[in-house]
């Protein structure tokens, strides 16, 4: 063990020197003194050595600055933010920037971004489902992320939520967290809470139990038995999503409640459920957690008899407690966050940690999960460790020598370079607003509504309300059409007085400096000589219409792969 540590240490030292020698930026250090960051770097340096890959060189300051803004606050940096970062000569400039983005100054944007991410994960992008109140969901998440509440509390509040899902003046008992389950449970238990079971297991435990709803799964020991799904499902049988119609046919709001559950045999003391095997045989199930821990079988909610005897159990509360203490809980969170920042989880899909799907870097995953749990499930800290790590700082361009590292080809990810990926639709929207310095003065609620409207075009274009599908631009012509010709782009390239292009055109700059400004604003870099040449010839061809030419260059920049990719 000791000798292995020495080897690792030597590797770190040599790689560190190499990176400093070859690195394009003197600011590309790692944050000193954060043991969790050191842990990530050590683990990956050792893995790179044993995989025989050379990590890519460091990303440029411009690339890294764009990257970290996108991942932490959901938009590209503003021109002045980028310029300030590039001009900063401090050796700790990267850590300083992360501290600011995670601090009070950006609290609003941070919470808006993570609200977007979690809204899509919890309830999808479908804005037409009347069993879910998107605004209520957002209000809950905005508060949770701006206060950076511990992740275990977030889970507990979502899994055990009761109350009214819509924030209306005429209603008491609003609890936005109810929207996670309000559309995934039947009113009278008629749909058995199948979706609630599947989504809770996937999101918080990284388990794909839904595969075993209908039959056993033919995979390794005790993995995917059919009873596992139904035993987990039994935890949701006290929950009811009551449809409130307020005098019309349409559901106006949902009240999520827990009620006594009598079971399929009408015996609340032994409130069992039945499920059917493929051969038609019926089997009984009681609430048993995925690790085999059983809770009392009573379907009664907690209460006290006249003689003081306590009885009953709140099944969802028991479930939240079991999830919090499960080793899968922090692992699933770390895997998801790693995937968010590095473009690929330790497993694929990121929400499948089953035994049939071993992670690429098990020690790193386990070690980070322990540290995340021991640190009190602090999501901002976990984010900080990852974005200050060496793999997060690598370029998306492969290293000049050695085998390529590209998990898109089906190989195990080595995190030896930063994986190229499409911005999320929400990130694209916010980045377009940022690049064009659009007026954000509008009320937050109106802004969210406008954004939802814009996003809904993509939901149609993608034909699905599942988040992962919606990230795919490839092959979706309607989406490119929207980027080519849609309202948002039309606004972005508008040349009206006071707009971004107008200001660039009016500034006392020569044509080269104007084009450079557009490139910096959108791509965080200056144009290449070829690009400048083409752009200038475009300007020349458009004769006196200087602003029109800028408009064309701007349109091209905003439509480019480089703009819409995180890289």
């Amino acid at each position: 063990m000791a000798s292995r540590c020495l080897v690792i240490l030597a590797l770190i030292l040599s790689c560190g020197r190499a990176a400093r020698a070859a690195g394009p930026s003197p600011g590309a250090d790692v944050h000193p003194g954060l043991p969790q960051v050191e842990f990530i770097n050590q683990q990956l340096t050792a893995a790179w050595a044993s995989d025989g890959v050379r990590p890519a060189s460091d990303a440029t300051d411009g690339e890294w600055c764009r990257r970290v803004h996108l991942d932490l606050i959901g938009r590209i940096p503003k021109l002045e933010e980028l310029k300030a970062f590039l001009a900063d000569k401090s050796p700790s400039k990267r850590a300083d920037l992360v501290a600011r983005l995670l601090g009070e100054e950006y609290e609003d944007e941070y919470s808006r971004h993570w609200t977007d991410v979690w809204t899509t994960m919890l309830i999808g992008r479908d804005a037409t489902n009347d069993l879910v109140n998107r605004s209520g969901m957002r209000q809950y998440l905005r508060r949770a992320f701006s206060k950076n509440i511990p992740y275990d509390r977030l889970m507990e509040e979502l899994v055990t939520a009761t109350g009214v899902n819509a924030n209306r003046k005429d209603l008491d008992g609003f609890n936005g967290a109810t929207n996670f389950l309000s559309g995934k449970l039947g009113e009278m238990g008629d749909d058995k809470g199948l979706e609630a079971t599947a989504k809770t297991a996937r999101i918080f435990l990284g388990l794909q139990v839904q595969c075993t709803q209908c039959h056993d799964h033919p995979l390794p020991p005790n993995q995917g038995k059919q009873n596992q799904f139904w035993e987990l499902n039994a935890f949701f049988r006290q929950a009811r999503a009551l449809r409130r119609r307020g005098g019309t046919d349409d559901v106006q709001w949902i009240e999520l409640v827990d009620e006594d559950f009598v079971g399929d045999q009408n015996d609340p003391e032994e409130a069992e459920i039945y499920y059917e095997l493929r051969n038609g045989q019926k089997r009984v199930a009681y609430p048993v957690f995925v690790d085999g821990t059983a809770i009392p079988r009573s379907g009664f909610l907690p209460g006290t008899m006249e003689d003081g005897t306590r009885y009953g159990v709140n099944r969802r509360r028991e479930l939240a407690t079991l999830i919090r203490t499960s080793p899968l809980f922090p692992k699933a969170a770390v895997n998801r966050m790693w995937g968010h920042f590095l473009g690929h989880g330790f497993t694929r899909p990121v929400d499948d940690l089953g035994e049939h799907n071993p992670p690429s870097h098990p020690e790193l995953l386990d070690g980070l999960a322990e540290r995340f749990r021991d640190g009190g499930f602090d999501l901002k800290e976990l984010a900080r460790w990852i974005v200050l790590s060496r793999p997060y700082a690598t370029s998306s361009r492969p290293s000049a020598s050695g085998p390529d590292d590209d998990p898109a080809s089906g190989e195990k990810p080595k995190f030896a370079r930063f994986y190229l990926r499409q911005m999320q639709a929400e990130e694209l929207y916010e980045s377009l607003l940022t690049a064009t310095e659009a007026d954000r003065a509008a009320r937050a609620e109106d802004a969210a509504k406008k954004k939802d409207e814009w996003l809904s075009q993509f939901v149609i274009a993608f034909g699905t309300d599942e988040g992962d599908e919606a990230t795919t631009f490839n092959g979706s012509i309607p989406q490119v059409l929207t980027m080519f010709n849609g309202d948002l782009i039309e606004n972005a390239v508008a040349i009206g007085k006071g707009g971004f292009l107008h200001r660039v055109a009016a500034a006392p700059l020569n044509s080269t400096a104007r084009i450079e400004t557009l490139y910096l604003a959108a791509l965080a870099r200056k144009p290449s000589r070829t690009e400048l040449d083409v752009a200038k010839r475009l300007v020349a061809a458009r004769k006196g219409d200087a602003i029109g030419a800028l408009q064309d260059v701007w349109w091209a920049v905003l439509n480019s792969n480089e703009f819409i990719f995180q890289h």
Binding site: D406, F462, N474, T530, E531, R537, D552, N561
Partner: protein
């Protein structure tokens, strides 16, 4: 990069396109070829198979249209009438379709178990009940995927959905997603509103940035993006987009289909299939008649349906296209034989009817039967996957195919449904 950004004045669209194709290799619409295709549709249409799905959103009352029960408590007020298919009777408010029934087959013994709108819609479109772990491809995606090779000249997407969203491509991927248009033939965001010269300039600037980024080898998706951009430019400048413009049809043809969204959609479907599009879905909503069903059907739904559907079938037959084109009529489920207190009918999946015709299907027949009040199927009952397998067979698509879902799980085409043998001669 020797090319000038200036384009001579008075350049025609056609010249522009050639010019663009040569100059930037970004947009290479086979303009001349596309023109030939529209002109020689007669030649082309013989060589490709296609399907048109008439989707009745909301769940149509097939007991009042295709499988009437006159004189029973569940029968409702409509009378059956004779049709051009011997022994086949349909609703009196479908007089034009009655003249076309010799081309069609009614399946009266569908039994489809999902009576919820979303689940029924998914099941009827994919042959699978919804699953949290995998998204299945719909008719349009499967058929476009299987038939796109026969129309290499096609510049517009192979799966077009008119007036509705249809169901997506699932694990087959976004290349097979429905291209959604409204029935006026308006494709959203198609027009940049700038002249071709300027478009050319913008695209060349864009191509410069895209190529530089691709050249940095950051990953394959950078190149994929450029391919989609290419397809989009092709679409924006394609003469084939003319096929969406139903307004260019003779007035009397437009009138025959009906001056409403569904009529225009059906006419557009014929034009698209003529061009080579393998799958078109046309949506007619408004069938969720929980109350007051009979006047709604008689005065609103059925006249629209009767006119457009009959015009489509007759037109396809007249043009010699029906042997290669399957026409399907269905919704997410049927409606209850029982007439409720509000003089409506509710959701009913246990025993209902769909209609198919064209392609390799037998014509002028009825398959299966329900009992005297329509509550039970009294012959072999058929599932959505059986129907899907039948449609694929009628198009000549082999049923032995397996797809692989994203999670690596094998998926049988049409969920291993069995073709309904009575639908084939």
């Amino acid at each position: 990069m020797n090319h000038s950004f200036d384009v001579p004045n008075g350049m025609s669209r056609r010249h522009f396109l050639h010019h663009l194709a040569g100059a930037a290799a970004l947009a290479a619409p086979a303009t001349a070829f596309a023109g030939t295709i529209l002109a020689n549709a007669t030649e082309m249409r013989k060589r490709h198979k296609a399907a048109i799905l008439l989707w009745m959103g909301g769940g149509p009352s097939s007991i009042d249209i295709w499988d009437l029960k006159p004189g029973t408590p569940t029968g409702g007020p409509f009378a059956p009438i004779a049709t051009t298919a011997e022994g086949v009777q349909i609703c009196e408010h479908m007089p034009l379709m009655a003249q076309q029934m010799h081309h069609m087959a009614v399946v009266r013994s569908m039994s489809t178990r999902e009576a919820d709108h979303m689940r029924g819609r998914y099941y009827m479109h994919t042959g699978y009940v919804p699953s949290p772990s995998v998204e299945h491809p719909s008719y349009g995606a499967v058929i476009a995927h299987e038939l796109a090779d026969q129309v290499p000249h096609l510049e517009i997407p192979p799966f077009v959905s008119v007036g509705g969203g249809s169901v997506g491509p699932g694990f087959l991927g976004m290349a097979w997603a429905p291209f959604v248009v409204d029935s006026n033939g308006v494709v959203r965001n198609l027009d940049m509103g700038i002249d071709p010269t300027r478009l050319d300039q913008r695209l060349r600037m864009l191509d410069t940035i895209e190529k530089r980024f691709i050249g940095e080898q950051r990953g394959g998706s950078a190149e994929d993006h450029r391919k989609v951009v290419e397809k989009t430019v092709k679409l924006m400048t394609s003469r084939q987009m003319e096929a969406f413009k139903v307004g260019s049809e003779p007035k009397e043809v437009q009138e025959r289909y009906g001056a409403n969204g569904f009529g225009r959609g059906c006419l557009m479907a014929r034009r698209l299939v003529e061009l080579g599009v393998p799958f078109v879905e046309v949506d007619l909503g408004g069938w969720d008649n929980h109350a007051n069903i009979f006047p709604t059907l008689q005065n609103q739904r059925l006249p629209v349906l009767d006119r457009a559907m009959s015009a489509l079938v007759a037109d396809l037959a007249d043009r010699g296209m029906l042997d290669d084109t399957v026409v399907m009529w269905m919704g997410e489920f049927g409606r209850t034989p029982n007439i409720n207190g509000g003089a409506g009918r509710d959701h009913w999946a246990r025993s209902w009817s769909v209609v198919v015709g064209g392609g390799g299907f037998r014509r002028g027949v009825v398959v299966g039967a329900t009992n005297e009040d329509g509550r039970e199927v009294v012959s072999d009952a058929f599932s959505p996957q059986d129907l899907m397998a039948s449609v694929l067979q009628a198009l000549g698509v082999p049923l032995v195919k397996n797809f692989t879902a994203k999670n690596g799980r094998p998926m049988k085409i049409a969920n291993a449904g069995q073709p309904i043998k009575e639908l084939f001669a």
